[in-house]
């Protein structure tokens, strides 16, 4: 790059001598922690998957005190939702936990459906369950692949990301996008399964089972892996609940709490599956709980493939379902219906609802407040990652500097969900 192409503002005054604002105020600095070194890990760090800043006071290698700063990816989701219709904000919802975009879609759509008093069709229910489990596999693959890569295990990363790529291409054949799908609709789904989709699904699940066997073989009884993850970042079930922790982290500490089993939603009540539970609540247990959850998800998907009924995917309700395009172009009622749905949004009766799904990270809840119009009054996301960041200090303090990254990886903080 030539210096001449830089604007004057950049080439003078903003060079190395100009002060750059610090966006945070740390809870402590070197004076408060005498005898320790204060380092800032992040917010642009190769190994923290997501933008987070961990200010750690170190005594040699031991972490004495930790101050976690999130918010570097705060994109104003809730404010944007208040400016869009109930339908238009579905793409924003996708980008919360972007590793498992479909679960965000379905959790939001079901919350709106509860508020509207709509019950989805049977095919939609089973298909949403199947796709939720498929998304869960993709999320756990990403989490495990990334955290293993941080420990130095490059081969499982490449295996798992390869399977994840098959899943992305497969979902692109269904929804049109690889990562952020915008596939859920209020009252149903965007489109039905294309030809041959279930056959390819079966192939991918078989390939998954082959590759996951290899990862198990490489990691499960690997001396180095066990030494690095056993008894590191341990938490008990009671402490986890005190810090609001749900999901695989809570299950790894021994409490078999899973919304899919405890308060079943979608089609989970009809499925046969186990809830894997750990022993110590350490990094090894979190890795293993996620591996087993993926296997359970595959088992659930195979059951759902058998159970999938025929029928329409969208509920036949003018308040939220877009009419068929052929009708929109020929009938005036459908044209007006379509116009109203696009311009004003589906009119959701005034009220409030809180509804949650078991996301791969924990309890993902939507608290919706409606004032009766087509635009939400408030959309609040109860995001598991944000709550887990509150408890992160408890998992990091007392362990070593080198344990910060694996522990952080096993917590699976997703920036889009944490900072919203």
């Amino acid at each position: 790059m030539n210096k001449e192409t830089l604007s004057p503002a950049l080439s003078q005054g903003r060079g190395g001598n100009a002060a750059i604002a610090n966006p945070i105020r740390p809870a402590f600095d070197a004076h408060d922690e005498p005898g320790s070194v204060v380092v800032s890990i992040g917010p642009s760090h190769p190994a923290t998957h997501g933008t987070i800043q961990v200010i750690a006071a170190l005594d040699g290698e031991r972490v004495k005190r930790v101050d976690v700063h999130c918010g570097y990816l705060h994109r104003g989701f809730e404010k944007e939702c208040e400016a869009h219709t109930w339908h238009n904000l579905i793409p924003y919802v996708d980008r919360l936990n972007y590793c498992s975009g479909l679960i965000n879609n379905f959790a939001y759509c079901e919350a709106v459906e509860k508020l509207m008093g709509i019950e989805m069709t049977p095919r939609c229910r089973y298909l949403r369950t199947l796709l939720s489990e498929y998304s869960r596999i993709a999320d756990h693959l990403t989490c495990i692949a990334a955290s293993l890569m941080e420990l130095g295990a490059m081969t499982p990363f490449l295996y798992l990301v390869m399977i994840r790529d098959y899943i992305y291409e497969h979902l692109a054949a269904l929804t049109g996008a690889r990562v952020t799908y915008t596939y859920g609709r209020i009252g149903g789904l965007a489109r039905d399964l294309p030809e041959g989709w279930l056959a390819r699904l079966s192939e991918i699940l078989d390939q998954y089972q082959d590759f996951i066997g290899r990862v198990h073989g490489l990691m499960d009884r690997n001396r180095i892996f066990i030494d690095r993850t056993r008894n590191v970042g341990a938490i008990t079930a009671a402490e986890a609940i005190h810090w609001g922790i749900t999901g695989p982290i809570l299950r790894s500490s021994g409490a078999p709490r899973d919304l899919r089993k405890d308060t079943p939603y979608l089609a989970y009540a009809e499925l046969d599956f186990d809830v894997p539970v750990g022993i110590n609540g350490d990094n090894y247990d979190r890795y293993y709980v996620r591996m087993r959850e993926m296997d359970e998800s595959v088992y659930m998907i195979r059951q759902l493939m058998e159970m999938l009924p025929e029928g329409p995917i969208n509920v036949d309700d003018r308040r939220c379902t877009f009419p068929e395009k052929t009708l929109v172009y020929s009938e005036i009622e459908s044209l007006i219906n379509h116009f109203k749905l696009v311009m004003d949004g589906p009119s959701v009766p005034a009220g409030e609802v809180y509804f949650s799904h078991e996301a791969p990270n924990g309890e993902l809840g939507f608290y919706l407040v409606s004032d009766g119009s087509g635009t939400p009054y408030k959309v609040h996301v109860r995001s598991p990652s944000f709550v887990h960041m509150g408890g992160l200090a408890r998992l990091l303090e007392g362990y070593q500097l080198a344990d910060i990254i694996p522990t952080f990886g096993s917590v699976n903080m997703i920036g889009g969900e944490c900072d919203r």
Binding site: A21, H74, G76, A83, H242, G244, R257, F386
Partner: protein
């Protein structure tokens, strides 16, 4: 202060702002609501009192859920903090504070969490315009 809980417990409870901590204590002790799921607020600018502070609780023993709502005014948006009871309240109340301006009495650390130092205003209030940016870095374009 002992706050009697209605039996059977309705899905949503409206309490006075001064009774929030006592209600939470009663819920935790009698109702086994050990998980504080969420703390948030809703802004009703046309109404006095202006803000609703909303809490969601979950019981890992009975799988029950309850919503607790309280109202606070714009001139004194203060409510007791639940940090002594639930560790999860730490970050959630910080977010509610910076987004709406609700002060949580007894919270050890009300620094901005999603926003940054120097940000003025409370963005999720209805009178904060969505496009008002407060850049930290001088723009070159």
């Amino acid at each position: 202060m002992n706050v009697p809980l209605p039996v059977p417990l309705p899905p949503a409870l409206e309490v006075a702002a001064a009774e929030v901590l006592a209600t939470a204590r009663a819920l935790k002790a009698q109702g086994c609501f050990d998980l504080l799921i969420d703390v948030t607020a809703v802004d009703w600018p046309q109404r006095t009192p202006r803000f609703d502070v909303v809490y969601h609780f979950y019981s890992t023993a009975t799988f029950a859920r309850v919503r607790v709502k309280t109202r606070v005014t714009e001139s004194d948006p203060t409510v007791d903090s639940l940090v002594p009871l639930y560790g999860s309240a730490l970050f959630m109340e910080r977010e509610c504070h910076e987004m709406y301006g609700i002060t949580f009495r007894g919270h050890p650390d009300l620094r901005p969490i999603l926003l940054y130092e120097g940000f003025e205003g409370h963005p999720l209030r209805k009178d904060y315009p969505i496009g008002r940016e407060q850049p930290l870095v001088k723009f070159i374009k």
